[in-house]
Amino acid sequence: MVIPLSYFLLTAALLFSIGLAIVIIKRNAIVVLMGVELMLNAANLNLVAFSRFDPDLTGQFFSLFVIIVAAAEIVVALAIVLKVFQHFNTVHLDEVAEMKD
């Protein structure tokens, strides 16, 4: 038997919503980055689920490149978070409110 497409889409929608809630609610910069990763994964799940019907596998190619860009994004974001921590001595997002001392 074949899993229906709507199950994948429902899972991806729920995952995206949870990621959005994490980004809004959490105050630690690293946990916010985790929420962004969850949202990217939800988008990937949609692409892969639709790619099942595609003989050219375009969705899977796009999903591969999304994974690459997500890796680049998390590397640069964590470097910035480390720099913010060196400067402000915290990664609490509400306390990081100025660009320069």
Binding site: S17, I25, N28, I30, R52, F61, I67, A79
Partner: protein
């Protein structure tokens, strides 16, 4: 039987994502995020994307999650270090109501669109899920022919991100004094 296994992976993914949301300990969030990534890799297998499932495990669990845990370890508050408390890094919750409201609103919109769209007709009438043994062959040929330019650009992007991250996180204290 297959449906139960799918349901298991779906509950695994969503449940551990909810744990990331409700847990106040950042390290617990990171480890349940690992379970989420593994569950998504299982869902990729159900969607017939074997290569992407392996890539997901290698890149996310092996790379990004390790980076996140390193980030958590390196950004602990100095106030926590002197005490005899075990290694806990807490995070606070703010604007819980607005967060739940925005996420619930997005989910309501998405599920309305999904229920109105006629995906079932597409699935039943025109397109059957394509049966293939493996996608690695097609993906490899595609990356070296149709998608060779994005592939090379992605390599350059990764190199630039690596250099930029190394430059940013290095000791550049003198930059601010000039």
């Amino acid at each position: 039987m297959l449906a139960f296994v799918f349901l298991f992976f779906m509950i695994l993914t969503l449940g551990s994502a909810v744990i990331v949301l409700v847990s106040r300990n950042v390290l617990y969030s990171a480890f349940s995020l690992m379970v989420t990534f593994l569950g998504i890799a299982g869902l990729y297998v159900f969607a017939g994307a074997d290569f992407l499932a392996v890539t997901q495990i290698m890149v996310y669990v092996g790379g990004i999650l390790v980076l996140l845990v390193f980030g958590i370890m390196l950004t602990r508050n100095k106030a926590d270090r002197g005490t005899n408390q075990p290694n806990t890094v807490k995070t606070e919750h703010r604007r819980t109501f607005w967060g739940i409201l925005a996420a619930g609103g997005i989910f309501a919109i998405l599920s309305t669109i999904l229920s109105k769209a006629r995906f079932q007709r597409i699935e039943l009438d025109h397109y059957e899920p394509i049966e293939r043994k493996t996608t690695i062959h097609d993906l490899g040929i595609g990356i070296m022919t149709n998608y060779v330019l994005p592939f090379e650009v992605a390599g350059i992007l990764l190199m630039i991100a690596l250099l930029g991250a190394a430059y940013l996180s290095g000791k550049t204290q003198s930059l601010g004094n000039k």
